[in-house]
């Protein structure tokens, strides 16, 4: 019995070693990059809230009196970004499962939703009719939302590049780390919008 055991190689021993774990460099870097980008927006939001608080404490309206900050575009932006979280997760899932049709569809819808968010914010700027230099808070409002727009645009570009790389065959389903990294950046972009939406559009 023991002779058999020593001469018959165990399948566990003779099995080829697993492939080395691919270093997740892009995901790690995207985590650092997204947190850093988010901190830029949140710092500006903090300054906006402090300046706004000072104005309210002095009995001055947060924004110039003749400026109306509508809530609808902000809400639409939030809803759009919330939907994009689902479509980006759908995109990642489809790529992992080599489902190209769904991946194409999810990538297209995600980019469309991102573009719609940018469009909603641009429409809001048009509706506001508020000069940048009107008051401290007016400049800060544009600074905060503008910084988030830049972050959104960067996230869209990242998604598009990684999505098309994957669909073009440069990243396989097993190895779609770039897509995970882009999705991570996008989720943080959406998460950062929550305090921006509440701090600017809801509390006005």
């Amino acid at each position: 019995m023991s002779a058999v055991a020593t001469t018959t190689p165990s399948p566990i021993v003779t099995a080829p070693p697993p492939p080395p774990r691919r270093p997740r460099v892009l995901t790690v870097a995207a985590a650092f990059g997204s947190v850093a980008s988010g901190l830029v927006v949140l710092t500006m939001l903090g300054v906006y809230l402090q300046v706004r608080g000072e104005r309210l404490a002095d009995g001055v309206p947060a924004l110039p009196e003749d400026v109306v900050l509508p809530l609808t575009p902000g809400n639409m932006g939030l809803a759009t970004l919330a939907m994009s979280v689902v479509t980006v997760a759908w995109l990642s899932y489809s790529l992992r499962n080599e489902d190209r049709t769904h991946a194409y569809l999810a990538l297209g819808v995600s980019i469309l939703l991102g573009a719609a968010f940018i469009n909603a914010t641009a429409y809001l700027y048009q509706q506001l009719e508020m000069p940048f230099t009107m008051t401290g808070t007016s400049g800060l409002l544009y600074a905060v939302t503008g910084a988030h727009l830049v972050m959104t645009f960067a996230g869209l570009v990242f998604l598009a590049v990684m999505g098309f790389q994957a669909l073009g065959g440069q990243l396989t389903g097993r190895d779609a780390e770039g897509m995970s990294a882009a999705a991570l950046y996008w989720y943080v972009t959406v998460a950062v919008y929550l305090p921006v939406w509440y701090g600017i559009y809801v509390t006005k």
């Binding site: 020593t6 460099v25 790690v28 850093a36 300046v51 940048f132 230099t133 401290g136």
Partner: protein, 549 residues
């Protein structure tokens, strides 16, 4: 069933080596290289060039302060910008770039990687820093910068400073990703060498701090560009320095020193000829030091009381608590020295000088957090934080970091330039730098106690002659420091020209950077020893000694 298998004698590097050695030579090899050693050297050389400029500004300001009756030596319109530039230049054009340079060159070697993560991004960051650093110096030359009179110059300063911050953030991402993702198989996080670990901690701290500073800088630009005189939400040009100078105050100033802890922790065990005691505890203490040094919450606000956090519980607690991890590390280093046999080589002298100065800086930082302690001379309840005492704290911490990093350059010179420094003169330079630091920073402590303000152009009411005498000693300290740095640069240049090869491992090092040739080839490693602890070469050496016995 018995299946035996010899432990592998060598494992491949953590990432696949690059396909081919780059064909470029000369200037093209520098301009187009993504090799982390070349990029690291670029950061180091550029940072030393900026040290020359910022050091000259610091000496000019020190010279001006010998006579407090007015601005006599310099043009009055230049004094404010130069004062601000000496801090900004020392911190963001010299100290952090030197840190990034040493880390870029050494960290991939320490973790057994064949390259830095995102080498092209790291190269772009280095060139962006060079460009932005040049623009920043240019803005000062046209009387821009904080307190500057040329509006375009002030705007140029803000934009170039923001670009410097972005470049450094990108470089930190590359370094942190290398430690997290490109470690050789067998090197768990618990086995990461302490220099690489300290850079991971520093990268995390700076990737929290730099974006906040960048956001504040962007807002300062908008304030100055669109707000007109006085700005529309922050005071315009007059508050520019206050908007960015919180990074030179406690606790953020301690973040500069995080990699210094790693350098010291790398040097001491090698020259004690034993392994670092309680490696895991040391990792925890460095992480605690890093966590406490994240001071983005302690920056001037935009409200009626911009320094609302000053002397409040969290600020006082952090100012004291940060001494604990440092004391813990000093205890571990003392234990390591006792367990081994210390040999007074030049890197160890640098490490010792850095520990001493950092300890004084941290203690002085804790003292200034005690609210009842005020200046000795007036009855105006002037806290120490607003005097040159706080500038001295930054001086001690910054210079301790610089000494540690320069010691790191001496220690890792075989890997940086393939040569070693001349031992005798380098030891002398370590002592000169220690003396210069004491002469530079200690009189500032006393002058602060006597009421010299931290900010420029604030009139000193009492003890003028004593403070002027102390400022003269500070100037002498600056000259001594300049001599020390000049001597070290000359030794560096001489070492690079020497024909004598140091060998792959001249110090009998413990970590993986000593497992390759000096200087390392493109791709770093042909093979690596098995990593079963935080000191794989120390293990391998002792295994072979035991085997031969």
């Amino acid at each position: 069933m018995t299946v035996t298998e010899d432990a592998p004698a060598a494992v491949s590097a953590a990432s696949e080596p690059p396909a081919a050695v780059p064909a470029n030579t000369g200037l093209a090899a520098i301009l187009g290289s993504g090799d982390h050693k070349v990029v690291g050297r670029l950061w180091i050389v550029a940072s030393l060039f900026h040290l020359l400029l910022a050091g000259a500004a610091a000496l000019a300001v020190a010279l001006e302060r010998i006579d407090l009756s007015g601005v006599d030596v310099l043009d009055a319109e230049w004094f404010g910008p130069l004062y601000a530039y000496r801090s900004v230049g020392m911190a963001f054009l010299f100290l952090l770039p030197l840190t990034i340079g040493v880390a870029t060159a050494i960290v991939p070697l320490q973790v057994g990687a064949s390259t830095l993560a995102f080498p092209r991004a790291a190269t772009a960051a280095a060139w962006s820093y060079l460009l932005a650093g040049g623009l920043l110096v240019g803005s000062i030359l046209i009387e821009g910068g904080p307190y500057g009179t040329d509006v375009d110059g002030v705007r140029l300063f803000v934009v170039s400073f923001a670009l410097v911050l972005v470049a450094q953030a990108v470089a930190w991402v590359c370094i942190a990703t290398t430690v997290l993702s490109l470690r050789v198989p067998g090197m768990s996080m618990r086995r990461v060498p302490l220099f690489a670990w300290s850079n991971l901690v520093a990268a995390t701290a700076w990737l929290i701090t730099l974006p906040v500073l960048a956001a504040v800088t962007v807002l300062a630009y908008l304030d100055i560009r669109y707000g007109g005189v006085g700005g529309f939400f922050g005071g315009g040009e007059q508050t520019l320095y206050a908007r960015i100078s919180w990074v030179f105050g406690t606790p953020t100033v301690y973040a500069f020193a995080i990699p210094a802890l790693g350098v010291i922790a790398s040097i001491i065990p090698v020259f004690a000829q034993t392994r670092h005691q309680r490696h895991g505890v040391a990792q925890g203490l460095i992480a605690a030091f890093g966590a406490l040094s994240v001071g983005v919450w302690a920056m001037p606000g935009y409200g009626a009381d911009p320094y609302a956090w000053l002397y409040e519980g969290p600020w006082v607690a952090v100012s004291f608590a940060i001494a604990l991890p440092l004391l813990g590390l000093i205890g571990l280093w003392a234990l390591t020295g006792v367990k081994g046999r210390l040999s007074a080589s030049s890197p160890l002298l640098f490490a010792g000088a850095a520990v001493l100065m950092l300890l004084v800086g941290v203690v002085a930082g804790a003292v200034q957090a005690v609210e009842p302690l005020e200046t000795l001379v007036d009855e105006g309840a002037t806290p120490l934080y607003s005097t040159s005492w706080s500038a001295s704290v930054a001086g001690y911490v910054g210079l301790a970091t610089a000494i540690a990093l320069l010691g790191g350059v001496v220690y890792w010179a075989p890997k940086l330039v393939g040569r070693t420094f001349a031992e005798g003169p380098t030891r002398l330079m370590a002592i000169v730098l220690l003396a210069g630091t004491v002469l530079w920073a200690f009189p500032e402590l006393i002058a602060g106690l006597m009421g010299q303000a931290a900010l420029p152009l604030v009139e000193v009411a009492e003890n003028v002659s004593t403070i002027e005498a102390l400022n003269l000693v500070t100037l002498v300290g600056g000259v001594v420091l300049a001599l020390g740095v000049a001597g070290l640069v000359a030794l560096f240049a001489a070492a690079a020209r020497r024909d004598e090869q140091p060998g792959d491992d001249p110090w009998s090092g413990h970590t993986l950077e000593w497992a390759t040739s000096s200087p390392p080839p493109y791709g770093n490693f042909a093979s690596l020893p098995e990593v079963t602890s935080e000191a794989p070469l120390y293990d391998a050496r002792h295994r072979s000694e035991e085997g031969s016995a």
